[in-house]
Symmetry: C5
Subunit: 351 residues, 5 copies
């Protein structure tokens, strides 16, 4: 039962609560860090025995258990047991296909959010699961992502967070996730700017591909941001008793940021659609251009070729052929015809 599977379908037919890790295995080892902090102290324990983390080591205001690497099903089952977490919740944590959501259980609040980051020019979605309890936060990460480094530093460094409760820590985690969206949005924004210039200047075969790649990234981002908005709103409106009045204001702030990034995603999506139209129009305009050149060339050479053909006929009685100036006159006529044609086309703005 500790097998790995990247396919959701591997679970079809299994009873509910069967623990199967769904998603890519992103890290090899599992790292569990426990932070115990209050206004005046902050202790850190790394990879302790699972049994010992069940109860706090010191009397601290807040405990944060940070689990990095969720593919070990046994470990996850053990954690679930120790902290009395519902099997369906553990299942949701293991299944990294979840959409952002908030669920209120009897003894804890379960929050799922998606971290989006770029890895080797590809956009990767990672799942962050948070279990919020009075004075305890357990967070599950797929990798040892570095977007939470500033938060960890603030805890170590006597930041305001040290004076606040577990709900504020949950806020801190989610705030880091949303702030990270802005980073990606800025990158995409720059990419769109570059694409816009490329389209009007030198649209090539890869342009279309870039447009579609960017749209796909936006779709991924949208999937992460849209439901998160609702989650933040529920937290800000106090759907769970675990969030205090003063922390609600902070969740309201994250909610505003989520709405803002959702807005930006929508505007970028519209821009992409517009760019597609511009691209198609430019393709169509180029076709027009090509057709015009073809028509101009055909129109200029066809009458000249006809004249040459006429004086190439073998009739016995063609007086012009015997004129001394016949040949230069015909050449002149050809030049005159070409010039007047060119003038006509210039007037029509075709060339």
């Amino acid at each position: 039962m500790n097998g790995l599977s990247s396919k959701r379908s591997m679970k079809a037919g299994l009873p509910p609560g069967s623990l199967v890790h769904i998603g890519e295995r992103r890290t090899d080892s599992v790292k569990i860090t426990v932070f115990e902090y209050g206004e005046d102290h902050c202790d850190e324990f790394v990879n302790e025995d699972l049994e010992t983390i069940a109860s706090p080591k010191s009397e601290s205001a807040v405990r944060w258990i940070k689990v990095e690497g969720i593919h070990n099903v046994d470990t996850m089952a053990k954690i679930g047991e120790i902290f009395d977490i519902h099997p369906l919740t553990i299942e949701d944590i293991l299944n990294t296909d979840q959409r952002p959501k908030m669920e209120d259980f009897d003894n804890y609040t379960f929050i799922v959010a998606k971290i989006i980051c770029r890895l080797d020019d590809e956009v990767i979605t990672e799942q962050l699961s948070i279990i919020l309890r009075p004075s305890l936060v357990i967070s599950f990460h797929e990798t040892q992502s570095d977007i939470f480094v500033p938060l960890t530093e603030r805890i170590r460094g006597k930041g305001r967070i040290r004076k606040m409760g577990a709900d504020y820590l949950a806020y801190g985690l989610l705030d880091a996730v949303v702030d990270n969206y802005f980073l990606l949005l800025e990158e995409i924004g720059e990419k769109i700017g570059a694409l816009e210039e490329e389209i009007t200047a030198t649209p090539g075969k890869t342009t279309m591909q870039s447009i579609h790649d960017t749209r796909r990234e936006l779709v991924q981002l949208r999937r992460a941001v849209w439901p998160l908005r609702d989650v933040m709103n529920m937290l800000a409106l106090g759907e769970t008793p675990l969030v205090s009045e003063s922390t609600k204001l902070y969740f309201k702030d994250v909610y505003d940021h989520a709405v803002q990034s959702a807005d930006t995603v929508e505007i970028y999506r519209e821009t992409m659609t517009e760019m597609l139209t511009v691209y198609l129009t430019s393709v169509s305009n180029r076709l027009n251009e090509v057709m015009k050149i073809l028509t101009v060339i055909t129109t200029i050479f066809m009458p000249l070729t006809l004249i040459a053909g006429i004086y190439g006929m073998n009739f016995e009685h063609m007086p012009e052929l015997h004129w001394a100036w016949g040949y230069p006159l015909v050449l002149l006529l050809m030049v005159a015809i070409s010039l007047s044609m060119l003038r006509f086309f210039r007037k029509k703005r075709w060339i």
Copy 2:
């Protein structure tokens, strides 16, 4: 009144409650299996006389009557009578055109869901109707589908399901249906991936057809998933008293899965629309390519042909014709013109 009809219209004009089977006849025989199980036992009876299944054979926590093959109208009417099911419900079971729904009657809850599976490269929709009562589940299947085999095995094999009530069995059936959607979605996902490569590499006449076939499958899937979401939500929110508090959590889980697959369907649909645009753009780009070649050829050969025409004229006084080097010079001129043209076009990136 036991005729078969695959057309909804056959019913027009008949009084309500007239039992007519609407849909394709998918299996020849009707198979009725009765499961009676509790924590410590599990009995199975196949194709017993209809009268005898009315009352339980043993004192069991849960009875599951599984009816495979619904085309026999007489049998269905009999079952309706024995278990006191409203004629409109029996009508709905027979009419396999139903959309997923949940209806709460006085003495039972009626649930309709759609099973979607692939048969010989075609996507088939099958109807699953569930009658849920305290400690009794009657399920109606069009065929002897094998998507419920794991569930049956869990019942036979002392799974947790043996300790739970009838509502949990209903959940198990619906969970199997939704899990099955993921299987189909993965298949479609792979197909889309293949299509994407086909479009950018070698788009042919069948590409368009494949795109449309896939879209049609998605439309079918959407019809099944969208209303099921609402049904699951109603069950999770406790719209019926037959679902216990603890089972609601499981229905919430299926609801999440249904939302997830509905999301995936939408994303796939958008992808298909995008692929259509890519296809059309590539068609339009190829037209451009063809036009460019045509223009290049016309532009290169027309002046050459004119020159040949000019020196084919029969004027008496054409000094060039008498030059010893006239012919090779003209040939050289032609080569020079072609080369400079080719250079021009290369500069314009047409070739």
Copy 3:
């Protein structure tokens, strides 16, 4: 005040309650049939004097007054007076431009639905107005439509309807209307199937027209079905006290059917949009095909013509002209060029 007008505008400026028949006059005579029935009897009276229909002839559970032909404004005004119907209701019955609706008045419920049927290859919309009162139904029909024949037969033939009240009769009428939609939808479905084959096989100039005709029929159907859904829902939810608990279930059933047909209409509409894209793509593909042929021909013949032109030049010193094998060699060269070109194009899959 008994004039006929097919234009809604004829009414502009008239006071409300002015009775003007708006719509086409579909039948010449007005036929009023009165059914009086109960569990054990069923009497029918045709075209009685208007005064005498005011009071029932026998003590019956239900009276059904069926008015076929509504263009006679005087008759309508009289009926309105006899049965104490609000002038605005009579106006609505006469104005066949109504959209389906349900209105609850003090002493009756007024329901409007649209019957859609095909007449001489054209789709015709007809209005059905129903006045529902305790134990009385008055129905107004534009023509002597035959979609209610089965219902009438059931009343005459001791069907269950004979045991039910007036609300069940109203249900029977509306059920017949919705069942009729399925008939039309099946016809349209078959037409779409034929169109799909036509498009991929031999798209002609009439294809586009057929697509648009079918879309128009769907729009008409949609206008009839969408608001009817709400009407059915209101009746099923018991917005009017005239519908009994047990009949509500039947209205719920019609509601389901209406939703189902609305769904099908939407799917057909999407299919039509898709077919339009397929059509346009095939047009665009054919253009591509034509352009390729043009380019192939131009590319093959232009160099050949140039060669012929070159050896048609009149230079004195052209050694090839004097070779014995010059002519056949040139012909061979031409054949070689054509063949290599054809090969090249076959490789490029242009021919």
Copy 4:
């Protein structure tokens, strides 16, 4: 402060309540007509002194003050003062850019609607503002529109309106406005019919323009109808105590008509979109047609020209040139080639 301005921007920066007339000045003089009527009498006073209209001349059930021409800001301010109307309301009346709305003030209900009429082939939007009070209606019109003539006649001619209150008069005004929409919709309907024939028969350069003109008219109509629907609904639902129970039914009727015309506008809009597609397809089909002709001509003449070129070559040893039947045989060959080509194209249905 009595200047005229057709620009909304002229107001930017002015304090609220600054009275500026925004819109075109449509009439030169201001005409104020006062109707005082009851069941048994009806008096009319035209252009009385403003002071004297403050109090009724007789004891009448209803007073209707009809102000035609609203550009005189002084007059408007005076009326506002006399009847104790909020400055913001007067501002709204003067600003003819309002969208239809209903506002309930302490002592009156303020209703804005838009009259749409055709003037010299252009569609003009005019604003109608109504102040409804117990037994008093003040209506403000931009011009002396004749769409209220029938209403006036009914008041003068002992119509039912004479027995009803001020709310019924307000209904009469709004009913006239909505009825007028149908007139315009019918005109547009006829125009669309003509356009449809034009498109399939002889689409020209003006067709596109006509399509867009019609769409613009529909957009204007939509702006007027959509918000009016809500206004009518609010009046029908009794959002204001000034509308009596019996009159609500009439407002419900106007609401139905507004919904109906909004529906028609939507259907016309869809039709216009569809016509655009048909137009574009026909343009694209014609391009195909032209390309086919070009290809047919090129394909037929190119080989013939090549043959002529071949026999125009000057090789010494070309046996065919010396044959007696060479010339007619070549001509025959050309005819044969052309005919077989034509046959081929006929088979391909290109010509």
Copy 5:
């Protein structure tokens, strides 16, 4: 901590409440003006020491502290401290990426709106933040915008505003913002009119660009107007106790104006979409035109060239060559063919 950053991403990872100015630095100096006014007086103080503005200088009905230039983070932090403003609010003021919103805090109401103005042919969005308290308004501006000059003048010049409270001043600020939208909308309207003429008359390569520029401006405007509508509605509905009954009417008025401008934005957006279609159609029509010309020319010259080729053949036995009138007859034949072709094309309306 007083650095400047135009990038939202600079904040990622910082604790909430970290004050960083996000946006362009639009002005160099910070100017703080304090207005203290009542019905009978109005005092103004510019750039006083920050400490001294904490308490009013005189007993005035209303104090307005206008802060122009928000990039100095220290100053902002100081203001926040003095007036007891929540750190998140100060953060929002500094972050000029906010969308319009209204937040109700314990001791103040916080309103954000966007000023849109044109600067050097580019559309600039500027943020206006308002803190509303009983008898105190603090407004934060990015630049010394002149759109509030009329308001300031009204305060100095004994306008009605002098008699009203702080809520009316907030209304005055927001009203100026919305009025300013109309100015921009009028400009855009004129630009659209010019574009419409350009498209039908002389569509060039810049036309497409102008269409897209205008669409982008509309998108910007839409982002500002849509959420402001909700803000105005909330203020009009009395979501905050700081707005008095009488001022609500004024907010209702601004709400109406916001709805109106949002409507206009939508209509302009639709117009732009339509213009794009017109542009694309005209491009496609021009292609058609070019193709027709090409076809006409090819069709006319090809047979003529063939005839010339035929009589250029070197057969010994070509009787026509020896006819005295052969040459002029062939020329006549060519003219005849051209003329009949031209006629044919004129009949087909191609030329």
